[in-house]
Symmetry: C2
Subunit: 188 residues, 2 copies
Amino acid sequence: MSVSDLSIYFATSNEHKFNEVRGVLSASRIKIEHLMFKHNEIRSDSLEEIAFEAVNAAYVKLKKPVFVEDTGLFISALNGFPGTFSAWVINKIGSKGILKLMRSEQNRAASFKTCIAFSDGKDIKTFFGECSGAIANKQRGKSGFGFDPIFIPADYKKTFAEDTKTKNKLSHRHQAVLKLADFLIRKY
Amino acid sequence: MSVSDLSIYFATSNEHKFNEVRGVLSASRIKIEHLMFKHNEIRSDSLEEIAFEAVNAAYVKLKKPVFVEDTGLFISALNGFPGTFSAWVINKIGSKGILKLMRSEQNRAASFKTCIAFSDGKDIKTFFGECSGAIANKQRGKSGFGFDPIFIPADYKKTFAEDTKTKNKLSHRHQAVLKLADFLIRKY
């Protein structure tokens, strides 16, 4: 069987993520289906633990090859906040809240990290991506989603929300998806 | 059997909470034991859901009457942040972070809420307490723990950390513990 004949599901409740990941995988001729997946994730400071538990739950529901993705923004000066709780934090205090917390903070270092976990019911595999950078002084740009308007990747001047091309090339999620694609092409 | 002959466990990893709750229950001649309980709580915006799941896990471990307690600080202007993630948020950004988020915010309304869940393996009962108030403009006082230095109960001027007596009389946790005591005295 070729990977292009395969039905692989991406279990997520976030449509932005689905579209971003579908774009990357289609370049490798891997088609994905969307499993609208609302799941009560575990609490953990480890993206891997969260993704591992979630993909198990998704496989139990679906019984077909499936992957999940968990991403967090880890800010050094805030002890890794918002980290694995990024999605929850953005709904509560938004990028505006992060900028308030970072006001007059000199150390602006931050990393976006992604873990993808894939399961076919026998094996579970995890794939990682990371993008280092800095928190901007104000929101800039309209594209992307989440904390994109306040994140500037290292060696660049624009935020992810100002420069989608750079985001798609460098991003934590992009890196992890490429590793997933490589694994799927070898496997099927 | 009288309630004073009973061994009831409070499952918590927070020694401050244990001491506070033991003090309230001892006035009703209810003795409690400490089960040092590190548990990966579920993610939920409901204290009740979190406490319910946690007391089940504690009972499975202990097989004796046991209760757990979950408390959150819900700030109106921050859409309920830090809410059920209060313990995690305090470790990351502290009271200082909350004050930064609230800087120049006129609406300072906030509530502390507690849910206690008790299980004897047959029944699970939940008990609630709530204390309304406001977020102070700066940290004041040294007693208590958590967000006590920035919380001023309604109709008072001092923070919980400046006035332990008022805290012990009014607090969310105190109210919930009194309901638990009342239930235990009726039951045993």
